[in-house]
Symmetry: C2
Subunit: 405 residues, 2 copies
C-alpha cells in the first residue's frame, strides 16, 4: 500500500517550523504494519500544489495533505484540490453544518464572512475538526483515498485519530524489531565488531541503521514469526553487550519506565545541559513520580547555594571537573530528595573552551546512597548536539546505576 504525505507551507520549506505531523502519522501507521512511502514538502503555490496532488493521485493508495485549509490568503489547498481533481469549489450544505458544529464546540458563533470554511471541492466529504474550526476533507475515487487535513499539529492529530479507522488500511503480518546500542559508532559496529551481521539479517527483511547522539538504532522489518529468530541473532552477536534496549522507546522514556517499575526517583544538577535532561524527562506524562526536581546551575553561586558544592572545590579544581560534578550529584540527590542524583558540568561551546578544557568536555557526576563519583568524556560537535550527547550519557549512567542495584 503506497501512502503519500504532502506537507504544504512555506514555513516548512523555510525551516521556520518543524513538522510534527509526519512523525505522528508514521506512529499511527506503524501499529498497522505500514509506513509512509514518501513525504513531499511544498510551498503555498497553487499550481505546483495542484501538480503534486494530481501526480500523487496516480501513484498512491492513500494521500494525506497537511496544511493550507486556514482562513488566510496563503491557504490554497482547497483550490489546488479543485484544480487537480477537476471538482468545482462550491458552498456545501454539509460543510456549513460541520463548520457550525466546529464553532459550537468552542462556544463560538461562525461568521461566514470571515472565512471560506464552507466552500469545498464538489463531492468531497467535510469532516469534523475536534480541535479547530476548518473542516477536514475526504475524497475517494477508484482505489485512491485523499484526506486533506489542517496543518496545525493538534488539529491534524485529532482528525487522524478520528478517521484512521475508517480508511480500511489492511493489517500487515510484519513487525519492526528494534535494538538500541550505546557509545560505539556505527562504522565500528558493522565494520569491525560484526562485519557479517548485516548480510545475515538482510534475508529476514529490510535492515536499517540510524546513528544518534548516544549510539546506533538497528531495525529489522521482518515477518512476525521471524522476530524471535532475528532477536536471537542480534543479541548473541558481538553487538549484544552494547544493547541497552530491545524496543524503540527513547532513552528518557526507557529510563523513566525502569525507574517507575523499581520505584526509584532521580534528580538532575545541570550546568552545561541547561535543563535539557529535566526537560526530556518531563515531556513524559507521569514523570512527577520519578523526577523530584532539578537545578540548572549556570552560575557558580547557584552551584554553591542550591547544590551545596564547596567553594574551595570550585577554586581548586575549576567548575568543570569530576570533583565538582561529584559534589553537584550528591547535592542534587540530598537537597532535591531523590534516590539517584545525576549532574553535568562541561563546555557545550562554541565559546568557553580553555587550553586544557576543549569544547565537548563533560564531567558527569552520579550519586546514590551507596556510591558517588564522576566520569569525564570528550566529544565533538555543535552546541545543540553536545547538549544532547551529554544528556544521553547522563541517562546511560542511570542505566548503569540501576544495573548495579
Amino acid at each position: 500500500m503506497q501512502i503519500d504525505l504532502i506537507l504544504i507551507g512555506d514555513e516548512l520549506l523555510k525551516g521556520k517550523v518543524t513538522d510534527l505531523n509526519g512523525p505522528y502519522l508514521s506512529h499511527c501507521l506503524k501499529s498497522m504494519g505500514h509506513s509512509i512511502g514518501r513525504i513531499v514538502i511544498i510551498a503555498d503555490d497553487l499550481d505546483s500544489l495542484a501538480v503534486e496532488i494530481a501526480s500523487s493521485f496516480h501513484r498512491s493508495d492513500l494521500i494525506i495533505t497537511s496544511g493550507g485549509l486556514g482562513p488566510t490568503g496563503d491557504d490554497r489547498t482547497k483550490l489546488a484540490l479543485s484544480k487537480a481533481l477537476n471538482l468545482p469549489l462550491i458552498e456545501d450544505s454539509n460543510a456549513i453544518e460541520v463548520v457550525k458544529a466546529n464553532y459550537a464546540r468552542k462556544n463560538r458563533e461562525w461568521i461566514p464572512e470571515l472565512n471560506q470554511y464552507h466552500r469545498i471541492p464538489k463531492g468531497m466529504i467535510p469532516l469534523n475538526n475536534p480541535v479547530g474550526h476548518a473542516p477536514a476533507l475526504k475524497y475517494h475515487l477508484k482505489s485512491t483515498t485523499i484526506l486533506a487535513l489542517p496543518g496545525v499539529p493538534q488539529e491534524f492529530k485529532s482528525i487522524i485519530d478520528q478517521e484512521i479507522g475508517s480508511l480500511a488500511i489492511p493489517l500487515q503480518n510484519k513487525k519492526t524489531v528494534t535494538f538500541c546500542t550505546r557509545e560505539v559508532p556505527e562504522e565500528v559496529l558493522f565494520g569491525t565488531l560484526c562485519p557479517e551481521l548485516w548480510s545475515t539479517l538482510e534475508p529476514f527483511g529490510a535492515v536499517s541503521s540510524l546513528p544518534t547522539p548516544g549510539g546506533v538504532i538497528l531495525s529489522v522489518e521482518c515477518s512476525t514469526q521471524d522476530t524471535n529468530k532475528v532477536s536471537n541473532i542480534i543479541l548473541n552477536s558481538k553487538l549484544g553487550p552494547y544493547i541497552w534496549q530491545v524496543g524503540d522507546q527513547s532513552l528518557p522514556e526507557y529510563v523513566f519506565s525502569l525507574l517507575s517499575e523499581l520505584g526509584l526517583t532521580v534528580s538532575f544538577a545541570e550546568s552545561c545541559t541547561g535543563g535539557l535532561a529535566a526537560n526530556l524527562m518531563t515531556n513524559i506524562s507521569g514523570s512527577s513520580a520519578v523526577l523530584t526536581g532539578g537545578v540548572v546551575s549556570y552560575s557558580n553561586p547557584v552551584k554553591i547555594n542550591s547544590l551545596g558544592v564547596s567553594k574551595s572545590t570550585i577554586a581548586t579544581y575549576s567548575e568543570v571537573s569530576v570533583e565538582v560534578a561529584k559534589e553537584m550529584a550528591i547535592g542534587a540527590r540530598t537537597i532535591l530528595g531523590s534516590d539517584i542524583g545525576i549532574s553535568f558540568t562541561g563546555i557545550a561551546g562554541p565559546t568557553g573552551a580553555t587550553d586544557t578544557m576543549p569544547v565537548g568536555t563533560v564531567c558527569i557526576g552520579y550519586s546514590t546512597e551507596k556510591t558517588s563519583g564522576a566520569v569525564v568524556h570528550h566529544f565533538k560537535g555543535t552546541r545543540d548536539f553536545l547538549k544532547t550527547k551529554f544528556t544521553m550519557y547522563g541517562y546511560y549512567k542511570i542505566l548503569d546505576l540501576i544495573a548495579l542495584t
Copy 2:
C-alpha cells in the same frame, strides 16, 4: 532558481528522527534571497531514489541530497546517482585521496575493506568532509548542479558551509520582512482586527502567516526597496500593539538579546514546564551571561527547600496557584541571584487535572526588585504544546517587565 532538497532515509519517513538539514539549508539560502522550492523525503530504496533524482534533475537548477552515503547496506545514494545519471560506479583516485584526508583529520587510518567510500559515480567530484569520513559529491551537467551530502547534520552543515560559496547562487534583490505578534489567534488578527491587511500587503510580494504556540508570525517577501513601506503599513495597522518583534529571532533569542543589551539576568522556577524555559535559553551560546540558573521544582519539597515557598501557602492555595507562583518567582530571583525571576506552576496534562483546575491551567509568577506577582492562563492542547505555550507566555512576561523598567 529552483532548489530541490532530497532527504533520504527510512528513519525520516518513520518519524524516528527530525530533519535538521532542511532548516539549516534554508537558513543559508535565505541570506542570499533564496529558498528551497521543494523537499522530498524518500526511503532508502534504490529504484525510487533513482527516479526521484532523475526527475528532479530535469526540473531544478540545484539539487541537494542528504543521506545514504554511509558505510552500511542501507546507504544507496551513490548507486541511485549512478543509475539516475547513467554514470558507472568506479574506484576514483581523487576519492581515495579525499577519504584518506578525512580519516587523517581524525587521526585514524582508512581501511578500504570496511567501506566503499572511494567508489563514486564516474565524473563526480569528491569533496572533503570536515567532520566525518564519507566524501560528499558534486556534479555539474548543463545548467544543473547536484550536491550529494551525508545526512548526519554536523557533516551536512560543515559541507554546506564549505561549498555554498562555490555554487554561484545569484543574490536576489528580495527581502523577507517578518513580524511576530503575541497572544491573538490568526483568525482574529486577519478576520476581525485587520481584515484588509492581507490584500494591502499582497501587491508587495508573497504574504504568509504562521500560527505558533505563542502568537502569529507574519512575513512579506518584498523587494529590498519596499521593506520600509511594508513595515510602516503593518506597524501602523491594528496589529501594531500586538507585535513584539520586527524580525525573525525566536522568542528566547529575542529576550536573550534584550537582556544582554540591558545587562539584566533572569532565573526560572519551573514546575509544569519542567526545564523547558531554561533549556531554550541555554540553547543560545553566551546565555550564561543572562541566565543565572533555574530550579525544576517537580515536587513540593523542592518548591519549599530550593525556592523558599512557604508550606502554608501550598497547603492553603494548592501548588497550582498564583500565590505559590509568586513565591516561586521571588525565590528564584533571590536564591538564584538574578534581576528577574519567572516561575511556572500548572497542569500540562494529560493527567493531573482536578475539578477546579483543568489541564492547560498555568500560573506564571514574576519578580523583580520593584514588583512581584503572578497571572493565570488557561490553554488547551497536548502536553508538549502546553509546555511550549506556558514557556512562551513566561518569556512574554519578561518582555513586559523589561518594558516597565
